[in-house]
Structure formats: structure tokens, C-alpha cells
Amino acid sequence: MALPQVKLDATEARLSGLTLPEGGWSAAARADAVARVRAMGLPHARDEYWKYTKPNTLVDAEVPSAALFASDEAPAFGERDRLKIVFVDGVFDAEQSDDLALEGIQIDRLAEASDIHWAKDLYGVLETKGQDPVERPLAALNTAFATDGVLIHVQSSPSKPINLIYRHGQETSDAILHHVIKVDAGAEVTVLENGPAAARFNKCMEVDIADTGKLHHIRLQGRDHERRAATHIFARLGTESVFKSFTLTVNGQLTRNECVIELTGDDAVAHVAGACMGDGSFHHDDTVFITHDAQNCESRQVFKKVLRNGATGVFQGKILVKPDAQKTDGYQISQSLLLDDDSQFLAKPELEIYADDVACSHGSTSGAIDDDALFYLRARGVPLEIAQDLMVIAFIAEAVQEVEDESLQEEIVGRVEGWLARRRG
């Protein structure tokens, strides 16, 4: 079917401003991705999947500028032993990064990886698979034009987490990063991400977890106000493997985090969770699609959004249970805490189930802080603002608890407390 002219024009305008990187081993995947982008067209406001989030600033040929943000906070994850990999405006920075050597793990730069590379079997492959049944053109665009990224092969469990750190250097930077992570059988790794990446950021992460492998992913987005970001995670899970991802988002004019997970081996576990704190000109979209294609797998989606001063939160979450995926245990909850009447939460929870022996539940709520609880706290001497903050922390607790490591939970809560305290001035 031919694309509408507006879509065609917008897509070609965007493509004409981009240069296809020198290919090497990824050339075929990139060429294929360009063709797919042309065929599907970039997202448009009239697309059903973009009903609640305006995609234009993510698509426009011209990059909306974003002021650099100087944080007064201690760097995230700064207290822990980790392997730092730093990107500035989407370009790997060797000087700020650690030596990429770590026992049990092989790390290569996408822009430099040799011609015969293990990632050839994955780069763009999971992304392509994730285009069905819903098209994700920004991810295909990413596969085609990503200028950098890391290829991480986890062969056995490394002694410390990998920390991908993003830094924003120029007001109109337009970064496209693509990471590939392959976790071998029995290996376990933690990947941390943080930092303002660019004025506009398009990031794709393909994750392949072999049988009994484990990946913990913890991401902090913020506090740069003016950025726009579209991110995708495509994960494929083998038998008895575990994938747990948590994202804390504070501020940001526009953030769309998509997560596409396929449970392909029996007894696999996938948890995707997020908490976001929005104030004013803030639009945050979590779009999740989990496919159960094996037996006895467990998936959880836990999303909490705290919104004030006209902020908008969006959740589109789907659980698809294929006919043979018996004994599926699926859970999905999306909730918003609206701190005033100007903010809004738009949710589209979906279940599509073709197996007959499954337990799937979902729920979505919007509400204000419970007045009775607030009075109870105040009657014990807790000042109004602190009582409100306690209620906010309580509200996001279920999502934060999806992070297994307690010290990371504490760090996340600490960041949120800082955000709340700064709001009080």
C-alpha cells in the first residue's frame, strides 16, 4: 500500500539529512533497514500507535535544540564499582571510558567492530522481528543509521556492572546509538544506563539471552528538561532465562520508551518496570509489547507515573499469549498519581490470549493522593509537603521493588527524593 504523501515527504526529508555509515559487516542489515523505513514510513500523528504521543519532533529533519543541563547531583551509580562506557552526543569517548577489558565479557564498539563479528547474527535481527505485528519505524531508522554503540558478549558473569553513560555536548546534537547484548547460557550481567544523551536521542538495544542467562537493566533518564528521546529494547529470552528492566525518568519534554520482549523458551521470566516524575512540559510514553511463545513463562509490567503542572503520561502495554504458551503468568499494572487537575494519564492496556490455561491480570488507575492518609501523617506531625513526598515514594514503590539489588533501589529512591525536594525549593 502506498504511503500517504505527507508521510512519504516527512520520511524522505529525514532520510536525506542522514548519511548511511560505512557498512562492513553491518552493511546488509543497514541497507535492509533503510528499505524497511521507506516502506513503512516514519511515524505520523495519525498513526494508531502514536495516538497519544506526537512523533513530529522525533521525526523532523531539523533537530529541535535542547539547552545543556548542568546537574548539581552526584553522578548516578558513582559510588559503585562499574565499567564505564561513555558516549558524548552519541559518540564513544575513549578518554572518559574505562578500559573495555573485563573478565568474562567481550565489548566492542559498533563503529569499529571487525568484519566478521558475532553481532552480525543479531544486529537488526531482533529489531526486524519486533516490527511484527506493530511497526516501529524509528527502530528501523536506528538500525540503518546508528553511528555508534557497543556490542557486548557476556560469556560468563562479570565481576561488576557495565555502565553506559551518556553526555550531552551540543545544543542540537542528534544521536543515534545501537547496542547489542548477547548473554550466554548461565551468565549474568547488570547493565546500567544514565545521563542526558543529546538534544534528540534515538537509541536501540537488542538483547539476546540464552537459556538460563540473566540480564538486569537499570536506567536513569533525566534531569535534562529539553531533551527528546525515543528508545527501543528488543529482547529475546531462552529457556529459564531472566530479563529485568527498570527505568526511572525525571523530566524531559518528550520520552518514548518502547520495550518489545519475546519469551521463546519455557520458564523464562521478563519484568519491565518504570517510574516517572513529570512536572509541566513533560510527556512520557511507555509502550510495551510482550509475547509469550513458550510454556510456563512469567511476565510483569509495572509502571507508575507521578504527574503535575500539566504533565502527560502515556502507557500502551500489551501481553500476547500464543496458542502453545500454556501456564503463562502475565501481570500488567499502570498507574498514575495526578498531583493536580491539569495533568493527564492516557493508558491502553491490552491482552490478547490464544492459550486456554493462563493467568493474566491487568489494571490501570489514575488518582490523587489519598486525603485520609495525608491527614493521618499530618496529625502525627509530618508537615504537608513531606507527607506528600512520602505518599509519592510509596506510590512508586511497587515499580522500584522490581529492581533486585537493594542498594540500587535505595539510590533510585534517593534520586526521587532529591527531585521532590528541589520542587519544594
Partner: protein
Amino acid sequence: MLEIKNLHVKLEEEDKQILKGVDLTVEPGKVHAIMGPNGSGKSTLSYVLSGKDGYEVTDGEASLLGEDILDMEPEERAAAGLFLAFQYPVEIPGVGNMTFLRTAVNSQRKSRGEEEMSAADFLKEVRAKAKTLKIDADMLKRPVNVGFSGGEKKRNEILQMAMLEPKMCILDETDSGLDVDAMKLVSDGVNALRDEGRSFLVITHYQRLLDHIKPDVVHIMANGRIIKTGGPELALEVEQNGYADLLEENA
């Protein structure tokens, strides 16, 4: 300690007068009880004194240790020494009991210009006080009142009272939902806090709580007013004859 003069209160949302001129003075170190039939305004009195939204004071005044409290925020009243033990303690999922208690203790101290309690001192004190109320470590760790039985909730109220060391304690039907053993436990907790610098206002339907927490003065409240005041024998009289005679006297 607590002085209430000619207090008139109506519901904000509807034009309904609940308190129609309450006069009450609780002296330091004394235990006053308020009894009365349903709908007489007892719980409203406790809410208005502690600062809950939804009520409008149309006339009269209330002061704690000489300070007008009706214009204060609820947290300011608490810091000034007022404590309400709730008839229905609120469950707050996600807020840990210990976090809540420590935040409350230190908020009050801070607002009074006192030094905050260290984590170690707090822990030591809360453990000791919890033990006498038979509150176990698990209850302390759980979210505030979540999954607590009726008796556990009331014991938790008394633990908060013990930790916050208020000057004026209002107990709103603390006996409701308690079995005999729990009532004794809660009463023992309250009695342990009796002190010449601390006063109590015990709101109850039944005389049996007053067997455990012996009042100095008993008031009967009906139709938004205190209609009779006497000694402990007044509670016994109500127990035997009900409120009908008293109401008739005042009709």
C-alpha cells in the same frame, strides 16, 4: 491544658450544624471521658481539634496550653502536643511503619527547635516501647497499618503516642473492635503514659474501657453539646440506665 469555649462547628459541604456550643476544660494530668449516643458529635470534636478538613468552625475557640489551635495546620497542632488516636487508623501502603514513625518524631522535634533523634537512639527506643505493647519486629517493618488486625492497629496508635510523647491525647473510640485482652493491653499502654504533665480525653460509647482507664471527670455529650458533667459514677449510671433519662432531663 485543653480549653474549649462555646465551640460551634458545621460540615463544610452541607449546612449541617454538628457542635452547638461545646465548653470543656481538661486540666493538666487529668483524664476526662466523653460518652454519648451515636451522632452526638463526639468524633467531630476530635477531628476538629486535630485539624481535619471538611469542618467549619462558626463560633467559639479552642486552645492548647493557652495557644489557639484552630488556625493551626494539623502538623502544627501535633508539634504543639496534641495527639489523636484514630477510631479507624489509616492504612498507608508503601510507607514503612518505622519510616513513618521516625519522620513524625523528627518532624515534631525539628518544628519545636529540638535536635533530631539519631537512627540508633530511635531504633532502641521504638523497640523497647513496641515490646511492652507486644508489637513484634515484623509489624514495625510492614507498611503503616497494612494487614494489621483491628487490635494491632490500635496498639500501633498507642505506640505512636508513646514515641511522640504528646501533652494532650484524644482517644477516639479506641475500644471499638477490641477483644478483652487487646483492650487490657491498650489500656495498660495508655495508663503507662499517665503523667502529671499529660492529659487525656477518652471518647467512648461504653463504660468498660473506663474500668481500665479510670477517668477523673466524665462528660455526657448529646446533640452537639455537653449536657452533664460528673465523676466516674456518671459512666456507671449511663451503663445501667442508658442515655434516655439524661436526654429527657435536658429536653
